[in-house]
């Protein structure tokens, strides 16, 4: 049973995804009864079983997941949304698989434990082998072409996960990959995967791995401090010929971008960061924010004091609405991204994919709504 639920056995899942099940039986009904057979058997939802958990460093764990047949796979460098339920509430976070894509390997998510990060802490403390979590289809364009040519991969901190996937992917697929890897971390202990990367460098002549630490003395063979022109010149004098991928904190991205601009490097640069949206000052009435209505592909300028419902209507949109005072939930709308405050509760929400009542919610940052 378990075996035929895997992505390799797609036919069953394509049948389930047809309107037959969802229209006539109802998805929750099917999932309820099918769940008695196996939690992996669903009408549409992508679920994955935890097959193994590996502790990479004291604050980093890798979770090997085996998704069911609804999962369409991923490309190296993409993200996958993971949904877990914590104290009755579903939380969704995007993680990059750190393994190379391949039919047999499932998805390996490498998660750093963040102080105050509810989901990462929960994954570290509660997720067990055999548990089932919910996934989304892979997304994102931090990906390399099939024949990428020469590569420069720069990673900062836990931004190494999509970089690891890209490196492993080219090392598996190409006969003689030409890759320069530059790893940044506060301490040596923060350099996740450094040892695995060294092993790949030994196997492939043109793969070089360099590391730099910013928060402790560096060994003589390594670089030291933040990304700089000197670092780039030392490890990749041919940077202009290399397709570059950078993933890490905002500051690292800014440094690399600035250098690329300064030198007017012709080579393509792809960047990725995981920074939360910045909050605007509270009482700011000027329409300084941008609200995007994803479904209608429209957007409008917004302030931080007027409920989203009113602002959307002023902008000519017509969201469903009712009492306009937070009672009837007629205007409930999925917030895809952004920071908002619920005026009736005072609660500030920053998570993606939360339901908000537009009539009592004000934006605190740029927001994307499912409108």
């Amino acid at each position: 049973m378990e075996r035929i639920l895997e992505p390799r056995f797609r036919t069953l899942f394509r049948v389930l995804e047809s309107p037959l099940v969802t229209r006539w039986l109802g998805e929750p009904t099917f999932d309820f009864y099918a769940g008695l057979v196996s939690p992996m058997l669903t009408a549409r939802r992508i679920v994955a079983r935890v097959e193994a958990i590996h502790e990479d460093t004291p604050s980093v764990k890798s979770f090997a997941l085996r998704p069911n047949g609804h999962f369409r796979g991923f490309r190296a460098g993409q993200h996958v949304n993971v949904t877990v339920e914590i104290d009755g509430v579903r939380h969704t976070r995007a993680y990059s698989p750190s393994n190379a894509p391949g039919a047999r390997d499932g998805v390996v998510l490498t998660v750093k434990r963040h102080e105050g990060g509810r989901v990462s802490q929960w994954l570290h403390d509660h997720l067990q082998v055999g548990d089932v979590v919910e996934l989304g289809q892979a997304f994102g364009d931090f990906t390399a072409p099939r024949e990428p040519g020469k590569l420069l991969l720069v990673a900062g901190g836990s931004g190494v996960t999509p970089i690891a996937s890209l490196l492993r992917d080219v090392c598996r697929r190409l006969p003689d990959p030409d890759v320069v890897v530059l790893l940044y971390g506060r301490t040596y202990a923060d350099l996740i995967f450094a040892r695995e990367f060294d092993a790949l460098a030994r196997e492939h002549a043109k793969v070089q791995v360099h590391r730099s630490v910013t928060g402790e003395p560096a060994a003589s063979r390594d670089l030291s401090g933040r990304f700089s022109t000197a670092h780039l010149d030392a490890v990749a004098p041919d940077a202009a010929e290399r397709r570059a991928f950078v993933c890490g904190p905002r500051a690292l991205i800014d440094d690399v971008r600035a250098l690329w601009a300064e030198r007017a490097l012709p080579s393509p640069l792809r960047t990725e960061t995981f920074a939360p949206p910045e909050a605007a000052p509270d009482a700011d009435l000027a329409p300084t924010l941008r609200v995007t209505a994803a479904r209608t592909a429209r957007s409008f300028a917004a302030n931080t004091a007027t409920p989203l419902l009113v602002q959307a209507e002023r902008a000519g949109l017509s969201p469903a609405s009712g009492c306009r005072q937070g009672i009837c939930f007629s205007c409930t709308c999925r917030k895809k991204t952004g920071l908002v405050r619920d005026l009736s509760t005072g609660v500030v929400s920053s998570e993606p994919d939360e339901d908000v009542r537009l009539c009592v919610t004000v934006p605190l940052s740029d927001v994307a709504l499912d409108l």
Partner: protein, 373 residues
């Protein structure tokens, strides 16, 4: 008779009263978590298992006890689904879980009325304009005269019969009630608009009819008729039960009705006060409360429509205390006693009657109104 026994409040008192209820609401919302998620999933599972069991027994209904048991079990499943699961989920009581299965905007329930129409007529019209004659369409469901403020005409004379008819076919009454056919007849709403709204109702209705009166009976082969009869009886059981609970929520003796003038500039505190005065509770044991979808705590439901209903029982103690502190009547009683007053009201209002005297509006408006009169 429906003269308020509640003390008129000064404006500051009303806002203080509202603030206490707001604080209670926040306290409960802040404590929502795994327990509540487990509760609603247990209800969901009970709905599924009783539904499956009921239909399975009906398939074995060559034996009469199996028919009776199957019908009762299916009726129970439908009651639980409509009252404790569907109604409450569609109020957004479980939206905080962010589970698509319990999401207010996408939930569809096991009754003729499409969920979208219900969210409009019930969540918006009824809960915002509770017991405001002319605005809250649940006052008499467009067919009954409940309050003397509704103008009388001879058509209301046989209304006790209408009421029985409505009780038996309540799900159809609910489904058509959002179409506002009475307003179409009076020329207040265009037939075109009504026709546009009719389509989703017919689509949902045909689905329900196909399920209970064609597909499942056909699956039973030679037992087509007993299964059809069992399904129909289960639907009627649910209809009558829902009618009883809902009519006892707002039309008992101790509740008040309101005029549109009450709505002008209504504050949060005044809205709370109108909800308290316009709703009425039922007393009973824990099973009774679950079977009513906790609408036995109608007052708490109207004060806090988006708080998970299984918390109302515990909140009721605080609400009672707050009501007493502000000298407000808290209407409650047994189902039998309360329904007797509803039945008497339906009988009485089938004959001409006049509002007793201009009742004091909420807040410090009465003095103003008195001067105006």
């Amino acid at each position: 008779m429906d003269q308020s026994s509640s003390r008129p409040l000064e404006r500051e008192e009303i806002e203080a009263f509202g603030a206490e209820l707001d604080a209670l609401r926040q306290r409960v919302l802040g404590s929502l978590g795994e327990e509540d998620a487990r509760y609603i999933r247990r209800i969901r599972s009970t709905v599924r298992w009783t539904g499956l069991g009921g239909r399975a027994l009906l398939f074995a209904s060559v034996l009469p006890p199996a028919w009776v048991g199957g019908t009762l079990l299916l009726g129970l499943s439908k009651i639980l689904e409509n009252m404790e699961l569907g109604h409450n989920v569609m109020h957004g009581q479980y939206d905080w879980m962010r589970d698509p299965e319990f999401r207010s905007q996408s939930y569809e329930w096991d009754t003729v009325c499409p969920a979208d129409a219900w969210r409009h007529s019930h969540n918006y019209l009824h809960h915002t304009f509770t017991n405001v004659v002319g605005r809250d369409r649940d006052v008499g469901y467009g067919v009954l005269r409940i309050f003397p403020e509704q103008p009388w005409h001879p058509g209301f004379l046989p209304q006790p019969l209408y009421a029985v008819w409505l009780a038996l076919w309540f799900e159809w009454g609910v489904a058509f009630h959002d179409l506002e056919l009475d307003r179409v007849i009076r020329g207040e709403k265009s037939p075109k608009q009504a026709a546009r709204e009719l389509f989703p109702v017919l689509r949902k209705a045909s689905r329900q009819v196909a399920k209970d009166y064609i597909v499942f009976p056909a699956m039973a082969g030679p037992l087509f008729i007993p299964v059809l009869a069992g399904n129909a009886t289960a639907n009627v059981l649910r209809n009558v039960w829902a009618f009883l609970v809902i009519f006892c929520g707002h039309f008992t003796d101790g509740v008040e009705s309101f005029q549109e003038s009450n709505l002008a500039d209504e504050t949060r505190g005044e809205w709370y006060l109108r909800q308290l005065r316009g709703s009425s509770n039922l007393e009973g044991g824990p099973v009774f409360h679950v079977l009513t979808g906790n609408l036995s705590h109608q007052i708490e439901h109207h004060l806090f429509p988006d708080v998970p209903a299984h918390r109302y029982g515990q909140m009721a103690e605080d609400v009672r205390r707050i009501a007493r502190k502000y000298g407000q009547h808290y209407e409650t009683g047994s189902l039998v006693r309360q329904f007797a007053t509803v039945a008497r009201r339906i009988l009485r209002q089938s004959f001409p009657s006049r509002p007793a005297k201009p009742r004091p509006a909420i807040g410090d408006v009465p003095t103003l109104q008195g001067v105006a009169a």
